[in-house]
């Protein structure tokens, strides 16, 4: 130890302590001032930012689902409605262990693998604080079972929601379509914010085509929540706008009559108003029960529908492409007059077959022994093939292509539904483009009777039929009749959408052709004479038979001996009353045999339902032949 003074110097020690005490005090002051500075930074400088964050914590916007618009027929018959149903919903954020929860839920509520699959798909796509439907359409018993066990499942809830129901079932399935769970593909096409809280979306048919109108727009409810996400109180609400109610141009009665008249056959019936383009009936048979799809269809039912050889899921009206057969003949006849290759009095001798010069191939008529000398009216009435073979050759394929195209054949009609196919009106250019081969004269010959490459959809056929009825006026076919705002009750009619008309040099040819077609029904030689009986109005029509398998298109052979799958398709187009047509009908009966005996009575039943509704339909649907 150094000899330095180590005695305590009280005075010096006190001064030293005083200095140190003051320094400590200064330090403490500075430190607390730093805290104050920090508070100013948080509360004053960034105050509004933190106010926003705290509001984001406390306030949540919950979507309020709009009610989906109802669908009615033109007379106010309900085609699609909303009925209350109970759904099991899961809010993923609030579920502590999803695997365990699902396993435990499965013990009290029947969860199909398809439910779980769909749930996991939705889970992957959604946000975790939004509830996801696990199963819809719970039975009362399941609701009760869950209610008893509720406290075991945080984040799982039963919610009463409105479920879509289709009272007409299969009859109108292809028109109305159905709603189903929103898929990944659907999500890409919509504004997801509009569908928060909504689990279903229009998948097909009118439900899909008019999705945006039917859906409405989502509302929101501002709620105050605590840290556990539980709602403490409702702060504000912005009501949703319910979807619009749609009145379709469809007449449910006609729809039913057409569906039933098809009997056990597969086929399509389209009826429309030729002066507006409004579709009165649109049947594709067989249909399916759209109600199956609403809650999510189970695998077995779906497979049954998909493997059914009659293809119930196939919309024949929009997507079925058939050779028009002899129903093309009125258009060919008009083309002949238009291009001057024939007059109404031009006679052609029909020996029952037709040959091109320098071509050994024989084109048979359906009547082996021929019709003898026929003019246009006879040829339409009796559906003489040879007359139209010769006309087609004289017209040439380019004229035929141009003329048929003016009626809207060969391209989509533009109906207000999705998925329509083109049909086909062939031309040499088309053939060169698609097959690389040149057009052969013989191919023109059979186009004359609606065979060969020519393909039409039932809707196109009905539309072209309507053009005949309306003397060239054309309208875009549509199923929407009016839109009703459910809040105001205001109804807006959908306007007809005229298309460029078909103009003839001589407009009287329309009347001429209409009367030729009337003869098909009225004349005892007419191929559709059987539908004349008991009709309270005049009918113009044309039968057709489309070849399914390569054999001569003979309407005279005994079709009943041929297996059904090999029989020809039966077709009919017609309108009524002849002078002031109010309805145009096109019928395609797959493997129906004869147009006259199978397809024409169906059209008559539909016309009766529309024009003479009080008249009990005479027993013509099962007409003998």
């Amino acid at each position: 130890m150094k000899a330095r003074s180590r005695i305590k110097n009280q005075e010096a020690e006190y001064r030293q302590f005083l200095a140190r005490g003051l320094i400590a005090g200064l330090f403490a002051t500075l430190a607390l001032l730093a805290v104050v500075g920090r508070l100013i930074y948080l509360q004053i400088v960034n105050g509004s930012h933190f106010v926003t964050l705290s509001e984001n914590n406390r306030l949540r916007l919950d979507p309020v689902t709009p009610t989906r618009g109802l669908i009615y027929d033109r007379n106010g018959v309900v085609l699609a409605r909303n009925v209350p149903s109970y759904a099991l919903e899961v809010t993923p954020e609030q579920v502590p262990d999803m695997k365990k929860t699902l396993a435990a839920l499965g013990k009290i509520i029947n969860l199909r693998p398809s439910d779980l699959r769909r749930f996991h798909d939705l889970l992957a796509s959604g946000r975790s604080f939004q509830s996801v439907v696990l199963r819809s359409d719970l039975s009362d018993e399941e609701v009760a079972r869950f209610a008893v066990n509720r406290q075991r499942f945080p984040g799982v809830d039963i919610r009463a929601r409105l479920q879509r129901q289709y009272p007409l079932g299969a009859i109108a399935s292809h028109v109305i379509g159905y709603v189903g769970a929103i898929s990944q593909a659907d999500l890409a096409a919509i504004d997801p914010s509009q569908y928060s809280g909504t689990s279903q979306i229009g998948k097909i048919g009118v439900e899909r085509a008019y999705e945006s109108l039917l859906h409405g727009s989502v509302g929101e409810r501002q709620v105050e929540v605590n840290a556990q996400g539980r709602i403490v109180r409702v702060v504000g609400e912005h009501s949703p706008v319910p979807g619009s109610d749609l009145y379709l141009s469809i007449d449910a009665r006609l729809q039913r009559v057409a569906y039933e008249a098809l009997g056990t056959h597969a086929g399509a019936v389209v009826a429309l108003d030729p002066h507006t383009g409004e579709v009165l009936a649109m049947v594709s048979k067989p249909g399916y029960d759209p109600n199956l799809f609403v809650g999510g269809i189970d695998q077995a039912s779906y497979e049954r529908l998909q493997t059914d050889p009659k293809q119930p899921l196939f919309n024949r009206v929009l997507r079925g492409q058939y050779p028009p057969g002899s129903t093309i003949k009125p258009f060919m006849g008009l083309a002949a007059l238009y291009y001057g290759v024939a007059t109404p009095s031009t006679h052609v001798f029909c020996p029952g077959e037709f040959k091109l010069p320098n071509d050994p191939h024989i084109y048979h008529g359906w009547k082996r022994w021929g019709h003898g000398s026929v003019d246009l009216r006879d040829a339409i009435t009796e559906s003489c093939d040879v007359y139209f073979y010769s006309i087609a050759v004289k017209l040439g394929i380019d004229h035929i292509h141009d003329f048929l195209s003016r009626f809207g054949l060969g391209k989509p009609t533009g109906i207000d539904m999705m998925g329509e196919l083109d049909g086909l009106v062939p031309s040499p250019q088309w053939k060169k483009r698609t097959t690389g081969h040149v057009w052969f004269p013989g191919e023109t010959v059979i186009v004359g009777i609606g065979q060969g490459y020519l393909l039409v959809t039932p809707l196109q056929l009905a539309m072209a039929d309507g053009v005949l009825a309306a003397h060239g006026e054309r309208f875009r076919p549509r199923v929407l009749h009016a839109i009703r705002n459910p809040l105001t009750g205001v109804t807006l009619d959908a306007d007809p959408q005229p298309l460029p008309p078909v103009v003839l040099h001589n407009p009287s040819n329309w009347t001429l052709m209409a009367h030729d077609m009337e003869n098909v029904v009225n004349s005892i030689h007419g191929t559709a004479h059987i539908i004349k009986r008991g009709a309270k109005y005049t009918i113009a029509g044309k039968t057709g038979t489309a070849q399914v398998y390569s054999s001569d298109p003979e309407e005279g052979s005994d079709e009943s001996k041929i297996p059904e799958a090999l029989r020809n398709h039966a077709l009919f187009i017609g309108f009524a009353p002849v002078d002031h047509p109010r309805i145009a009908v096109a019928v395609v009966v797959e493997h129906g045999g004869h147009g006259g005996s199978t397809a024409a009575p169906i059209a008559r039943a539909v016309m009766d339902a529309y024009l003479a509704p009080d008249q009990p339909a005479p027993g013509i649907a099962k007409a003998n032949h």
Partner: protein, 378 residues
């Protein structure tokens, strides 16, 4: 004894209150500060607890007990503390070792000792025993202390601090450590030596980080540096706390109206994070008011230390006061995101008992020091 007890010879006109204060050895300004702080604390706690009158009642009972401890401590002469400091320190050290082996597990740390009738944390004893021991050791030495005396003093400090940190209770270890260090600082440790010690600490820090800190303690420091790295876990506290304070603005959302606090977004809102409730509900002005009360108490404590008449009293009073300051600073700094999250309560406001009793005991010692001054011969 050539010095005289100040009180006995001070005559004159006294009000009843002044007479009572003298009789009970109470320092009125400090006492008033503590009463105002406790009352304010109860009002804040009422809002922060739910609101729950139950919690407030329980806390009020604790405060009452703590004030009794204060009064008892105020009656004990400082010489007594000086004489008994080694025993208290030794006993505290022993209990710390015992608790490491036999302590109950509470919140993942072995810090509680259950004596059957009472559960307490031995580390609380150290908050007072350590500055007492250091003050006593330096009391007899001419100041400023020489280097080997400093080594001894720091050994006295680090031994209990290390034991507490090992429990692990980082917050209390920090408080105990600072109590000792402040005593040494006040004793006049040379600036050059302070610099060297700080340098050594800077070198020791990474070693501490890699070999002594627990995972969750490291996590806290990392989360302090960047709360967003774990917004739902460790960072959640501090993020929500900053939102609560920031959204309070200048005037606050009003008592019982803090959405962060009342809707449960703010965790530990009635204990360690209660200062965020103050910031949210009373705004900058309210928080400032609370800090002013704390500042007043600290200032009064330092004043008492400066007025104290011997080295032991000065160092002890200064150490206790500055420990109280560390409480306030570490808690408000942590809650406002200025410092890492360390488990230190806001003194006399946070819900909880043990630390309050220790704190009031400390203030009782301050009052004793102030009341037992002697008249110096001029």
């Amino acid at each position: 004894m050539n010095t005289l007890d100040l009180n006995r010879y001070d005559t004159g006109d006294l009000t009843l209150g002044q007479w009572l204060a003298r009789a009970l050895k109470i320092d009125l300004p400090l006492f008033a500060g503590l009463v105002i702080l406790s009352a304010t604390g109860l009002a804040i706690l009422y809002s922060a607890s739910g609101p729950s009158i139950d919690v407030v009642m329980r806390q009020a009972v604790r405060i009452g007990l703590a004030f009794i401890v204060l009064l008892v401590a105020a009656q004990i002469r400082p010489q007594f503390f000086r004489l008994w400091a080694p025993w208290l320190y030794g006993a505290g050290l022993l209990l710390l070792i015992v608790v490491l082996h036999a302590g109950d597990i509470g919140k993942g740390a072995e810090r509680w000792l259950d004596l059957g009738f009472i559960r307490f944390e031995p580390s609380e004893i150290m908050k007072l025993a350590l500055p007492m021991m250091v003050a006593r050791y330096l009391h007899a030495k001419p100041l400023p202390p020489r280097w080997w005396e400093l080594v001894v003093a720091f050994a006295l400090i680090f031994l209990p601090a290390a034991l507490i940190a090992h429990q692990p209770d980082l917050g209390t270890a920090l408080l105990v450590l600072s109590a000792g260090c402040f005593a040494v600082f006040l004793a006049g440790m040379r600036w050059r030596t302070i610099l060297i010690v700080l340098l050594l600490a800077a070198i020791a820090a990474p070693i501490l980080w890699f070999f002594f800190l627990h995972g969750y303690q490291r996590e806290r420091v990392l989360t302090f540096l960047d709360p967003e790295r774990d917004p739902l876990g460790a960072g959640y506290h501090i993020i929500q706390s900053k939102i609560a304070i920031g959204s309070g603005g200048l005037f606050g959302k009003g008592w019982l109206n803090g959405t962060q606090a009342q809707l449960d977004f703010l965790p530990e809102r009635s204990t360690d994070f209660i200062f965020a409730v103050v910031g949210e509900e009373f705004g900058l002005l309210g928080a400032l008011g609370l800090l002013i009360i704390y500042g007043f108490i600290i200032a009064r404590g330092l004043y008492i230390a400066i007025k104290a008449q011997d080295t032991f009293s000065r160092l002890l009073a200064g150490g206790i006061t500055l420990t109280f300051f560390v409480y306030v600073f570490v808690n408000t700094g942590m809650v406002s995101g200025l410092l890492p999250v360390v488990g230190v309560p806001l003194p006399l406001v946070s819900y909880g008992g043990t630390s309050m009793v220790t704190l009031m005991g400390g203030f009782g010692i301050l009052m004793s020091i102030h009341a037992h001054r002697k008249l110096m011969p001029s």
